[in-house]
Structures are given as structure tokens and as C-alpha cells.
Symmetry: C2
Subunit: 199 residues, 2 copies
């Protein structure tokens, strides 16, 4: 009985450590790369090894960037009076894709989650408070995910900013575009009703 | 408006080229690796770059291996009178996992598929015929996937071996038509091996 050659087994093990990749998918991906003749495995390998060498975090917004401060913080055309607080760098990308928001960002790198041992000091909350206090922002938009942890983090940030002269807003919760009222969960419907606005 | 930093975008592009990985999954995987602090991206990258450097093909069975002849062909405890023909190296692994089959293998590296331009010369069929003619095998087991192409390839191999004194069998159709050998469970594979019949 013979196992797999070591280089293949190692690659399968490494793929299996990625989220959402099971042992069978890892096997498929590995053999796909073995069969490919165009050096895909080398270019993916190089991209992985180079991944972090150029990356850093913006000292202002804490987003991932190759220049510090990042392009958004440096952009003279952005509205420096508005700051939008998000959980992750991917949320910045999602908001940037809309092309509507022109203010600055602040990336927390997570949410408060006592169950996972994530407290305020593990996030960029202190940095946010300092940034607000030392800056001259008019509005802070809380754009955290509508989860228990997101809500708790929003509340924590709000209480940390008591005394600051800044208008704190939160992105609306309600039915998503293209959503179906009859399939919406109770919490979404309650939030949508609560957030109703005069037409 | 700023795009993604180049190293991240490159990694997302490379992940997207893998089968079954869409742009959203590629983004998720990339950011997962950025956040990980245990060097996962470096070890996956190294595994990818080293993947093919040590790998070769066994001159006898044409399976992927690091030693030539491979461990199975070299194993004195294997039954050198039986040879099992499979499409892909993954099929060898699937059969080896059952622990039931003790003979040798022959990996074709595909099946006849005129629509994809795969003819007999693109597979290891000539090598199989030579191996049978120059060896002293008692039985050849056709263990190709139960697909149209698999059937056609089985028939082609049978007709190529007319005149050879070898018993040709085919694994039982315990596998559903259109199914995939590498995903079959062990019991199904054992049943299929036990139920092989003389052609």
C-alpha cells in the first residue's frame, strides 16, 4: 500500500488548511495543478510568497495598503469631514465599488466578541477615538455588519465618543434591494418598519 | 477611488484561475491569508513551487511518483499477475484506499474523447499493450469511469489486445452511469471490484 508522493500530500495538506476547502477539493486542486502545463502552480506560489512583503497598514485608517498613508487617506478629492467605520478591508472595497461614498474610512479589523476573546484592545477602537478627538470630523458613519457583535461594537464606539462633537450615524437596516418581504426574517422586518421614512 | 494593492490583486487573480474558485472565493481566501499570522501563505506558496520539482512518472505504470519505478511497481508483495487500468492517478489512490486490490496499475492519463481531440496516441494505451505483450499477466481489469468515453476507451483497449492470452475483466457497474470513480465510497469500489466479469 503506497500513499501519495510527498510533494502532492504536502500541497493537499496546505490547501486543506484554507477555509471552505475540504480534503477532496484540496486533492482536486492539487491534481489540477499537477496536470496544468502553463506554470499556474508557480505563479500562484510566487503570488503567495510575495503577498505580505509589500503590504502594510495605513497609519490613519488601518486599511491594508502598499503606501502609507493609503491612497484613500492621501486623496485630496475625498471629503475629510466624514469617516466611515467598517470591520474589514473587504468592506472598504464593497463600499468603494458603489462609487457613492467620498469620505474617509476607519478599519477596525474585527468586532467585539467576548466568546472569541476579542476585546476593545484587539481592535482599532482606541485609534479611532484618538483620530476623532484630534481631527475635525463632522460625521462618523457606523457601517458594521448587522450582527449581535456588530451592534455591540457600534454601541461601544458610541459610548467611547461621548463628549465628542461629532454626529454619529449608522447605515440603514431593512430589506435588501431585490429582497422579498415574505421571505424576510422577523428581525429584518422589524428593523425595516422602525427605519421607515416619509416619502 | 482606489483599487486593491497589487500583491492582493495578483493573488486573487491566481486563485480565480483554479477550478471551482470564483472571484468572491478568491477574495475571501486572499484576505484570510493576509490576516493569518502563522505563515500559511508562505508554506502554501512553497508547496506549490516545489510541487513539480521532485515529481516524475513511473516508466511502468505511468502513475505520478517521486521514485521510478514507483512504490507500487517495486513492491514485492503486490500480485504482478494482475493489472488494473485507470484513467487518472487519483483513481489509483481511490482504489488503494480500499486496501482490497493487491495487483499492479496502469494509468492512461485520460480517456478517448474525439470531441476534445484526445486520441489513442495521447493516452498510455500503446504502452499498455506493449506491457501486456512483454509481460506475463493473467488478468487485466478495466477500471475506467462508467461514462461514454470510459466505455469507448475500454472497448478500444479490448480490441487492441485481441490475440493476447490475458483474461480481460471490467469492474462491475456498481458505479452509477455518469458517476466519478474518485468520488465513490470504499464499499461501492469494493463491490465493483468483486463483481468484475469476463468480457
Amino acid at each position: 500500500m503506497s500513499g501519495l508522493p510527498k510533494p502532492i500530500q504536502e500541497l493537499i495538506n496546505e490547501f486543506s488548511r484554507l477555509p471552505g476547502v475540504g480534503p477532496k477539493s484540496a486533492q482536486r486542486l492539487s491534481f489540477y495543478l499537477i496536470r496544468s502545463n502553463d506554470g499556474k502552480e508557480k505563479s500562484l506560489g510566487t503570488a503567495l510568497i510575495n503577498l505580505k512583503s509589500e503590504l502594510t497598514f495605513c497609519d490613519d485608517c488601518h486599511n491594508i495598503t502598499i503606501s502609507n498613508p493609503c491612497d484613500i487617506c492621501e486623496d485630496v478629492h475625498r471629503d475629510k469631514k466624514i469617516i466611515c467605520v467598517v470591520e474589514e478591508p473587504l468592506d472598504v472595497i464593497a463600499l468603494e465599488k458603489t462609487g457613492q461614498y467620498k469620505g474617509l474610512y476607519h478599519v477596525l479589523h474585527g468586532v467585539l466578541s467576548p466568546i472569541d476573546g476579542v476585546g476593545p484592545d484587539d481592535l482599532k477602537i482606541r485609534e479611532l477615538v484618538e483620530r476623532i478627538k484630534s481631527g475635525s470630523f463632522d460625521e462618523l458613519i457606523l457601517a458594521l455588519n448587522p450582527s449581535l457583535e456588530g451592534e455591540a461594537t457600534s454601541n461601544y464606539i458610541q459610548s467611547s465618543l461621548t463628549g465628542c462633537e461629532i454626529s454619529i450615524t449608522k447605515i440603514a437596516q431593512g430589506l435588501p434591494m431585490g429582497g422579498d418581504l415574505e421571505y424576510a426574517d422577523d428581525k429584518t422586518l422589524i428593523k425595516a418598519m422602525e427605519g421607515r421614512r416619509k416619502c
